[in-house]
């Protein structure tokens, strides 16, 4: 209730909560004179913060910087806080999706929707969409692919493990349909929320 925008993205066993504070006045050290600054904070349940969390923070921040219209709020800071409530595979994708919806919920100007899916490349060459953590562990390579909504342009791809160039391109194509599904789901959720507001006021 304190955040200006919030969203929870749940998929199978993974749930990530995102809260957005801002745009609000930034500290002198942080603020930029012509655009807003986005900071991302990933909270682990136990309060510690390692290199994995730092890496995820940077990835989410880069994606948000690509979709948020930063010239709309100069001298402001948009603080995104992520918390992985439960993790069982695909937490980075869930976090990206939660962060984007939370930013939209906060009313920040956004160029367009985007969504992330996790793609696992197994040893036998098959491609698995949205793998569980067990499947991620036994995969040859795991990719988190973020695509832009209206034209499926590639915004970000994070690869771990061993993935060939052709396989990467195939995986990005396979992610296209899954991204459309996620975006339809996001649209339904937002429409439902707006419809409820209209009924009450």
């Amino acid at each position: 209730n304190h955040a200006d925008g919030s969203a929870r993205f749940v998929f199978k066993g993974t749930a990530v909560l995102a809260g957005v504070f801002g745009p609000r006045e930034g500290r002198a050290a942080i603020k930029a004179s012509d655009e807003s600054v986005i900071t991302v904070n990933w909270n682990r349940g136990d309060g510690l913060s390692g290199s994995r969390e730092k890496e995820y923070e940077t990835i989410v921040r880069n994606i948000l910087e690509a979709v948020v219209v930063r010239s709309q709020d100069p001298l402001c800071v948009i603080e995104v806080s992520l918390q992985a409530v439960t993790e069982s595979g695909g937490s980075l994708s869930a976090a990206i999706n939660a962060a984007v919806v939370a930013v939209i919920d906060a009313g920040v100007a956004v160029e367009g929707l985007c969504a992330a899916v996790t793609v696992a490349l197994m040893h036998d060459g098959s491609i698995l969409l949205d793998p569980t953590s067990g499947e991620e562990g036994s995969a040859r390579g795991v990719m988190t692919v973020t695509l832009r909504g209206h034209d499926h342009a590639l915004l970000s791809s994070v690869v771990s493990g061993k993935v060939g160039e052709e396989e990467l391109l195939t995986a990005i194509e396979a992610a296209g349909d899954a991204v459309s599904t996620v975006l339809t789901f996001i649209r339904m959720a937002v429409e439902k929320r707006l419809e409820k507001e209209q009924r009450c006021w």
């Binding site: 200006d4 925008g5 609000r24 001298l75 009313g107 160029e111 367009g112 929707l113 937002v190 707006l194």
Partner: protein
Amino acid sequence: NCHGMAGDREEVDEVDEMCVEGEVASERQDAVMAFEKPPALSGKAAGSDWEEGKTVLPGDRELISKLTAPFAEGGTPVLQVGVGLSQQDSHLVVHRAGTLRIIVKSATSKAGSNIRIWIEASGRRYYPCMQDIVIGVVTGKGGDDFRLNIRGPSVGILPALSFEGATKRSRPKLEIGSLVFCRVLHAYRDAEPELTCISLTHKKGWMTGSAMFGELQGGFMFEISIGYAHSLLHPDSHIISCLGRQMAFEIAVGTNGRVWVKAENVEKTVLAVNAIRNAEHLERGQAEAMVEALTKFSRNK
């Protein structure tokens, strides 16, 4: 010297403001009328599904030519693009999730149709806009101005003499934490908004109790979402009429999502605050039942 110059500027501003206020008043009337009866867009262009009341999400786009095509008779239609939308080449692109609002003024002999299109969205962060009436909380005092928190991206500046009939010797002394009911004079994206407690129409001095703007004393202030605040400002607000049937109270609603309520005693004030807070999430029938239940509970104690 400073005061002389400031005085001149105030005069010029005032003339501009009166024109603007007149325009804004008629716009508000239009907006209120549109609110009650959304205009039917007759003859939607084939393929354009952007109509009044549609839920849109960021990234949704439509060709400008498709939007203006139904109104092309009588001259080139003018499309005025408001909050939440921007033009990219030949498309209008949505930047905020919300409800699409369209108001059309039909073509006259002199000009083509005028189409106004914007996104109505609720939220918790307030973006200051000229002529908005807001409730601010004093967070700091400078030499000759007050700094107010108005729930926006930056603090608002209220000059110490911007009160009706205030002079250097007699002006209100506001403490940190005071509530001020004021008007946004200037709102810029890159600078702090300037506020004022001078009204263009009500000329009662700040020292009398009946000035239009100024400090709100007593009562209780709480925060709600921006969209709900707009609906409370509507003359036929359901919850306010419901509550008004049960008790007498004084209420001030700021466009920045703040509400101040003052009733006879603490108990009635708390009742009113709870009723208004709860009604944000209840449908109309439920809201009435809730108000009755609260009043009955307080009477039976």
